[in-house]
């Protein structure tokens, strides 16, 4: 369905055999019996289930949590491929941060006519609440998960910039641990860059953006919506591995425009909040008044410069699909150079010619809602029914500005264990890029998502996608550094060591855990009326 034959990342485009650097992996795939691969895969999945790495699928009848399928055959990048990706990613996230600083500040990019102003001012993701305010150190998107696809040996494209609260990094870490345990021979064959330094990198990034002058070691916490959230496992996993407190809204309070964490030994001032709650819910006084997940006054503390929020509120304007199509211009504008990582060609249906092209080629295009996510509200032309195409045709004609269209890419494939043995399946890739005052750090790895159904291009976990480990081969320098081989055993030990270091290096964070007894209720707003007082509605039951 993807037109021509897709590029396979191990075997290349022709049937001549595996690409040179990956020949050993190809041999491993061919020589390990399918039953053995299956056994290991089941062992990995059993371990994930035991750990509780689950997610809830939205819109599913029984909202039973389930694990994201794990595929035992890893994906692999050469050191050279990774070096090029890394350069491009760094350029991209620097541009994203520069764009956000500009758009909430001087708005030079609008004055210079690079982006149509209505795309910013009419965009609900442009948050008036933070306009004119600069976060500590001017950094907005501390953690970006840049979704990429590949169509050939050197053809990488950015599909989506996730600059709000990207998730999935726990899969990167857990998948690697499982692979080292279950397939240690692969790590004997290849020198693989470790990913277990991610928690250290993230902690350093968070500490680096603490507001100046707090006079103590920065206190960082992870704010979660709670255990009902589909990504709760990741929240608790990351808090554990960073050695920081996992808190819910009720554990925090704002006083005098400072944020405090309540602990049994008194309150502790918080400098940095790694929040995994959407903008809309972080402060009921400023954003959604019915939110029980947020901390009243948090935005005042943020606007006063007394706390850093990672990511900052308002970053959604940078990863919006309508803005996405301008990313090449944005990168050029702030970096002064050509984008090292191109976008997927995108037609903005708000523009007349693009709309016409889209309507004329619906059968071959992917059409996306500008404000949709998770694979919902999307038309994949080549696999869509006539009725679906007609439905989109009408929707496009009615509200063209809400859509973009892209070509159906022949996404690269990676050998994947299926019911009928190992077969190619389409993949994408989400590396995690960290930005702090210490610069951009990118862990050599990422989340590879795989569309498990034959021919399918939809990798979203909510649409039946799975994950793979993503191996980055060490460059020559690194190979010298770690001359002794990495056995699974040694790798496990190094993980333990890094955990110990984290505990030693932690500053405050005293046990807290359970939410405090007090309930929060909203004060009735004052009703405005011209003569008689309206009833002041206590909206406490909305909360």
């Amino acid at each position: 369905m993807s037109g021509g034959k897709a590029f396979d990342e191990i075997y290349g485009s022709d049937a001549a055999g595996a690409r040179e650097e990956f020949a050993a992996l190809a041999r491993w795939i061919e020589e390990t019996p399918a039953t053995e691969l299956e056994r290991r895969q089941h062992a990995a999945e059993a371990a994930f289930r035991q750990l509780g790495i689950t997610f809830a699928v939205y819109g599913e009848e029984e909202s039973a949590e389930r694990i994201i399928p794990f595929d035992i055959v890893p994906r692999i990048f050469s050191a050279g491929e990774w070096a090029r990706l890394q350069e491009g990613l760094e350029q991209r996230v620097l541009a994203i941060n520069a764009f956000l600083d500009d758009i909430y500040g001087e708005r030079r990019i609008l004055a210079d006519g690079i982006i149509p102003p209505e795309l910013i001012f009419g965009n609900p993701q442009f948050r008036t609440e933070v306009s004119g305010a600069r976060p500590p150190h001017g950094i907005y998107a501390h953690i970006c998960g840049i979704d990429m696809v590949r169509t050939g040996p050197d053809q990488f494209f950015v599909l989506e910039d996730n600059a709000r609260t990207p998730s999935g990094v726990s899969y990167m870490l857990e998948n690697r641990e499982a692979m080292i345990r279950l397939c240690p021979e692969l790590f004997d064959t290849y020198e693989v860059e470790p990913v277990d330094s991610y928690p250290d990198m993230l902690r350093e990034t968070l500490r680096s953006v603490a507001p100046r002058g707090s006079g103590h070691e920065p206190v960082c916490v992870l704010l979660t919506p709670g255990h009902f959230n589909s990504a709760f496992y990741e929240h608790s996993f990351l808090a554990d591995n960073l050695g920081i407190e996992l808190v819910e809204a009720a554990d925090l309070e704002v006083d005098d425009d400072f944020v405090w964490m309540r602990t049994i030994e008194g309150r502790v001032r918080v400098d940095v909040i790694y929040r995994r709650i959407d903008d809309d819910f972080i402060d009921p006084l400023v954003f959604r008044p019915d939110s029980v997940l947020g901390v009243p006054g948090l935005m005042a503390a943020y606007l006063a410069g007394n706390v850093a929020l990672a990511n900052a509120p308002g970053t959604g304007v940078a990863d919006d699909k309508a803005i996405y199509s301008y990313m090449p211009e944005i990168v050029r504008y702030y970096s002064g150079g050509e984008p090292k990582l191109p976008n997927v060609e995108t037609w903005r249906c708000r523009e007349g010619q693009a709309l016409q092209y889209t309507l004329d080629n619906l059968e071959s295009l992917v059409v996306k809602l500008v404000d949709g996510s998770g694979g919902y509200g999307m038309l994949v032309g080549p696999t869509a029914s006539k009725a679906e195409i007609e439905r989109f045709r009408e929707a496009l004609a009615a509200e063209p500005h809400r859509y973009i269209a892209q070509p159906t890419l022949a996404l690269s494939t990676v050998p994947t264990l299926t019911a009928k043995g190992v077969a190619p399946r389409h993949v994408d890739f989400r590396p995690f890029c960290l930005t702090g005052t210490n610069g951009v750090t990118i862990v050599p790895g990422g989340l590879t998502r795989v569309a498990l159904r034959e021919g399918s291009l939809v990798v979203n976990s909510s649409q039946g996608g799975g994950t793979k480990d993503s191996l980055i081969l060490a460059g020559a320098k690194r190979r010298q550094r770690q001359s002794q081989s990495q056995s699974g055993q040694q790798q496990d030990q190094s993980i333990d060591r890094s955990l110990l270091q984290q505990e030693g290096g932690m500053s405050v964070a005293i046990g807290l855990g359970q939410a405090q007894g007090g309930q929060i209720q909203k004060l009735g707003d004052t009703i405005q009326s011209q003569s008689l007082a309206g009833p002041a509605h206590d909206s406490s039951d909305e909360r």
């Binding site: 009921p284 005042a300 606007l303 004060l523 009703i527 011209q530 003569s531 007082a533 309206g534 509605h537």
Partner: protein
Amino acid sequence: MRLLIHHRTGYRFSEPQKRLVQLLRVTPLSCYGQNVADWQIDVDCDARLKSGRDGFGNEATMLYVDGPIEAIDVTVRGEVLTENRAGMVAGAIEPLPPQLYLRPSALTRPDEPITDFATTIAATQDSALSTLHALMGALHERIAFDPSSAEIGRGAGQAFAEERGVCQDHAHAMIAAARVLGHPARYVSGHIWRPDAPDEDQPATHAWAEVWLADYGWIAFDPANDHCPDDGYVRVAIGLDYRDAAPLSGARIGGGAERLTVAVRVERLDGPAPQR
């Protein structure tokens, strides 16, 4: 005019609260025709106040109170010198461009009846300015003042359909209709001097709309009174709708119920009442 404003908000709680956090937008800023001579916020208990600016340029004050607390009174008072500029607004802090105020918001999302209403009226007028005046008059006629309908979270469409509401509903409907016609429009929360009842306490603050026209800039319209704000009006806070400009929003920790009382007194300190 020289206006003395006294705006008191009181809360009584059925059980003691552990903590209160409130966001107040109660402090007017000076602009042409509005000179804030004196202004202060008093709280009748031990409270911490912190002031800052929000994205719309409003003065936003955070109020933090530790419990146990059973009642709180927040009193805002001050003196403002005003001039009649016939609704023309200028000299205000404008951190955001007019274009932003084309964006629909939760309480001002236009529905089909409002869209029809706005386009029908526009078709009978020969200029944008006269259209806006006609909209103000028609909304004043259509939406009957009815304080029993006052309710937070009531959108423009609902008040328009039910044909009753309070000043914030008039303002929301005016904003929705103006945006339908492509004019940036925003919500204003403020105070009004009532020459017909100068000594009476008003039980709430007032609200109206401002609409931007390229040839004039921002122009204020008060559809609740079918009148373009003059020197009897004091502009306090703006936003896309009520939620951005609400005088008070807050959260409390402690449970139980609350009773709210509001009293606003606007007195004229100089001269006789002008013709209105």
